[in-house]
Symmetry: none
Subunit: 221 residues, 2 copies
DNA sequence: CGGGAGCTGTCAGCGTTTTGTCAGGTATGT
DNA sequence: ACATACCTGACAAAACGCTGACAGCTCCCG
């Protein structure tokens, strides 16, 4: 999945890129209105995240031009807080959703996912590896077809492993994903979560590669 | 696209006509409640803009009569400033949007366009999940076939959950939807609404996924 | 104009669930 | 066999969400 993030504040842009990549998307960023317009017009994205205040051409104009050209990818607009007119103009210009700044990254990712899925037309949001199935929309997990109750933290851990099912994920990376970088946690916290999960899941789901990290078993053992 | 503007102040009516025609719509105006009712009942409009204070029959009554007759065109109601009850009654009577007077013409046009666009892609009026049925036109809720009286806020919450019934909706998103971004609310306000709703609905309707958000139960448990 | 009713946000406190930490234990690789 | 990496169960703190009471507000009705 390819995402274009148009945002001229370099810090926010970097955060966007990080968060969306963590969510498994391929992300390109762009800080200029004209560039954005060109990119959106010529490349195929599954989603565009569009800030309104941009150099050379403002976001709304960019969006309108895209739509006028028949470009129909979903666009999530970032609006200034409380600026309701912006939202109205946004709808009018063809935006699919908005998010007022400032926003929490998790929420942005959630919306992004929703938009992508909607546009994909009914593509189910669930993925499986071996006996394990995750539905990131319902935030529910199935193990061998049986519903499994997981806590938020556990579920996020599983999702992350699912997302990167093709490789072994190092503990440091998991820690960072689960807790942001505010780490004041002992490294052991992660092990505790894994242990609790394994008790629920049974054996043969979460594998360990000693010295490297964790992975989901059963994909292509 | 055909628009009916019902407004008894000739100056505002003229402005409406001008603005909407500039936006590319075919506009008919009408200054009388009874005439409006007749027109809306017999002609096919893509949008009606409806002032509430009208001679011979007030706007709300007109709207209710239309809806009772199964007329489902989108209606944008013009309300007096700050008259919150009017807005509630408006929604209740089947309005799709409202605009407090005085308003800027650009905003009216933007909303009008949004409504027309939305109506182009809208499905049926009533939807169900489990025991809960919502009729968005009449703003009525049924629980197990029994009518349920909900407040405007409660109903909006339910509608939003219904709209996104395929996923778990995070509290932040609900807050934003319910209150716009004027937030000076405590996060707890949402919980209060949920609690009140649950008391009315009984158990097994609104579910919580701790750490993620709320959802309507019974869809495909 | 005043009382009353309905709606809704705030607050404080509660119970539950979640989760980090600790103190050992067990496996693994060299 | 030894050190290191990882696992586990128990515990306590913290987070989270729920609830009931209350007060402010608006609107309605006399």
């Amino acid at each position: 999945m390819r995402v274009l993030a148009v945002e001229d504040d370099p810090r926010i842009a970097a955060d966007l890129k990080t968060a969306l990549e963590a969510a498994g998307y391929r992300v390109e960023t762009c800080a200029d209105g004209l560039d954005a317009w060109f990119l959106g017009d010529t490349e195929d994205y599954d989603l565009v995240i569009l800030d309104l205040g941009l150099p050379h051409m403002d976001g709304l104009s960019v969006l309108k031009k895209w739509r006028a050209n028949g470009r129909e990818m979903p666009v999530l607009v970032l609006t200034a807080r409380g600026a309701w007119t912006e939202r109205v103009e946004g709808i009018d210009a063809g935006a699919d959703d908005y998010l007022p700044k400032p926003f929490r990254m998790e929420e942005l990712v959630a919306r992004a996912r929703a938009l992508i899925r909607r546009s994909a037309g009914r593509a189910s949001a669930s993925q499986s590896v071996g006996d394990l199935t995750l539905d990131t929309n319902r935030m529910s997990a199935l193990i061998g077809g049986v519903p499994l109750s997981t806590t938020a933290l556990e579920f996020r851990l599983l999702s992350y492993l699912m997302l990167h099912r093709d490789r072994v994920v190092p503990p440091t990376e998991l820690l960072e994903h689960l807790y942001g970088d505010d780490d004041s946690r002992e490294a052991n916290a992660l092990e505790a979560v894994i242990a609790r999960l394994r008790r629920k899941l049974g054996p043969g789901v979460i594998g360990t590669r000693r010295g490297f990290g964790y992975f989901l078993e059963g994909d292509a053992a």
